[in-house]
């Protein structure tokens, strides 16, 4: 909390550039409704996410937030358009883009200890055991899990598991963090704590974050910019809000309430 409350603009190379991006599926020919029609989930999305920024994707359930994030992650392929990170086209997952999933239970490796989970990426890169240990200690400390390194995921609470996910991806030193409703499964109190922690970590490390949520309050608490996705099908980024509030932010602040009302109004209309 002793850091400056406004982030310095990061270098150009981490920038995510999206131009005229489309994603469509063929309707199942067998199913009752469609007969092979093309069904657009995302249509003509243009977006530039600058290196080092905390960008929030906000939209109702089913609008295509995960679809967009998964394309950036390289998990699913685009139908057409351009999608570049730091100048190179994205066609598969890469160590530069780390993903924090909503369900820690389905994405952590339950047979590995917290430390082994955190060291997973390094082990895949064949980093020697001793070096791995140094890195994992550092990130376990960073996310506030000091002393829990030898526990298995099942021995942790939901919030702690999400911290493990964070430490696990940070240990690989990615340039971008892609987070798909990472706090959606947590209870209200834990969620509040985790939001604060994430802001702290973001400010301590030098990462670009793309954060998906459908909670307006969470979006305003976290985002430097908030991209609103229109409801699907054929959804796009309908508006981008700049949130120039200083961190850490408080729900009770007057400006906070103002942004909340504006964005809420955007959805209500």
């Amino acid at each position: 909390m002793s850091l400056a409350s406004v982030k310095p603009v990061a270098s150009k190379k981490h920038t995510i550039t999206i131009e005229g991006l489309n994603k469509s599926y063929h309707d199942h020919p067998g199913s009752g409704s469609g007969n092979g029609d093309i069904h657009y989930i995302i249509k003509d999305v243009d977006l530039v996410i600058k290196g080092g920024e905390f960008f929030v994707l906000l939209g109702p359930s089913g609008c295509g937030k995960s679809t967009l994030l998964n394309m950036i992650a390289g998990f699913i392929s685009k139908t057409s358009g351009n999608l570049r990170v730091g100048g190179s086209d994205i066609d598969k997952p890469g160590r530069d883009r780390a993903v924090v999933f909503q369900q820690a239970d389905s994405s952590l490796f339950p047979w590995l200890t917290v430390r082994q989970n955190v060291e997973f990426g390094l082990k895949m890169k064949k980093v020697p055991k001793r070096d791995r240990r140094v890195v994992s200690e550092q990130y376990i400390d960073l996310v506030g899990l000091t002393g829990h390194g030898d526990k298995l995921p099942r021995e942790l609470s939901g919030g702690m598991k999400q911290r493990v996910q964070l430490a696990r991806v940070l240990a690989n030193d990615p340039e971008i963090l892609l987070m798909d409703e990472p706090f959606g499964a947590l209870d209200a109190m834990t969620r509040r704590t985790m939001q604060k922690e994430l802001v702290r970590i973001w400010r301590q490390t030098d990462k670009t974050i793309v954060f998906v949520t459908h909670d307006i309050q969470e979006a305003i608490l976290l985002g430097g910019r908030i991209g609103i996705m229109s409801p699907g099908p054929s959804s796009k980024i309908s508006h981008i809000y700049d949130i120039p509030l200083t961190y850490p932010r408080e729900v009770s602040a007057a400006e906070f309430y103002e942004y909340h009302s504006r964005i809420q109004a955007h959805f209500d209309e």
């Binding site: 780390a98 369900q103 389905s106 994405s107 490796f109 339950p110 047979w111 997973f120 990426g121 895949m124």
Partner: protein, 258 residues
């Protein structure tokens, strides 16, 4: 009635009940049809004293264990392969769903031809009885590995081979374990068929051959030996799973679908 809920009381009552039912049956049908507990114990002692019962149990156990272990060792990689490679799965699935209805006993002649009258054909029969269960469980396990885990590993830079080794296999462990444990049950069931052929020893031989001389007491000794062998090894294996594989999510309780 609380004392009834105590486990030992229940077990005691159970055994008294079972023995009583057994004795009643023996009295009703006569000892050459159903030998009573006493006759059976006598028959067992007889077989034990001349050393054949321990030898039979040992040899049957050896066959069950070899066939089961070999079958599992073959089935697990095959299951992973079928699960991971779509093309192979399209080939293999209908075939598996056809063959799984053909009982091991039907392959006796074929296995004799392939593996001869020695240990190999018996072990092969047990292996066959094991193969499909383990393979299909492994296959299902591979198919139910959460996509998130694979994606996480991939975006942390794991190669496809590393994903199989470090994600698919550990995540499938509980399914493999269940399959292997269920297969153990089936192996005991198949031992009678295996020892029906070209065999002069073993518990299955005892059961089958005693029919020829109508030594029903020996048949019962054989049946009880099989039940006990199965029960004990199953418990041991469950205990092993609980102790050694618990971090893979293996629970030690009885698998349902034998």
């Amino acid at each position: 009635m609380t004392w009834l809920k105590k486990k030992w009381a229940g077990l005691l009552l159970l055994w008294i009940f079972v023995l009583a039912a057994w004795q009643t049956g023996a009295l009703l049908y006569g000892p050459e049809v159903i030998p009573g507990p006493v006759e059976t114990v006598k028959g067992g002692v007889e077989l034990f004293k001349d050393g054949s019962l321990p030898k039979y149990i040992g040899i049957s156990f050896y066959r069950v264990f070899s066939g089961w272990a070999l079958g599992s060792l073959i089935a697990i990689p095959l299951g992973v392969l079928i699960g991971k490679v779509d093309v192979i799965r399209h080939f293999a699935e209908p075939l598996l769903n056809f063959i799984r209805f053909i009982p091991p006993i039907a392959f006796i002649t074929l296995f004799l031809v392939w593996f001869g009258i020695g240990e190999q054909s018996k072990i092969a029969l047990i292996l066959y009885a094991t193969l499909f269960i383990v393979m299909m469980n492994t296959l299902t396990g591979v198919l139910s590995v959460e996509e998130d885990k694979v994606r996480a590993a991939r975006s942390m830079g794991a190669s496809e081979w590393q994903i199989i080794l470090h994600v698919i296999i550990p995540a499938t462990a509980p399914y493999m374990f269940t399959g292997v444990r269920l297969a153990m049950g089936t192996s005991y069931m198949a031992i009678v068929g295996a020892e029906m052929i070209a065999s002069n020893e073993g518990v299955g031989y005892l059961i089958w051959n005693s029919r020829l001389f109508f030594r029903t007491d020996w048949i019962f000794v054989g049946l009880i030996s099989l039940g006990l062998m199965g029960f004990v090894t199953d418990r041991l294996f469950g205990w092993f799973g609980r102790k050694v594989l618990w971090r893979y999510g293996v629970v030690g309780s009885t698998p349902v679908r034998r």
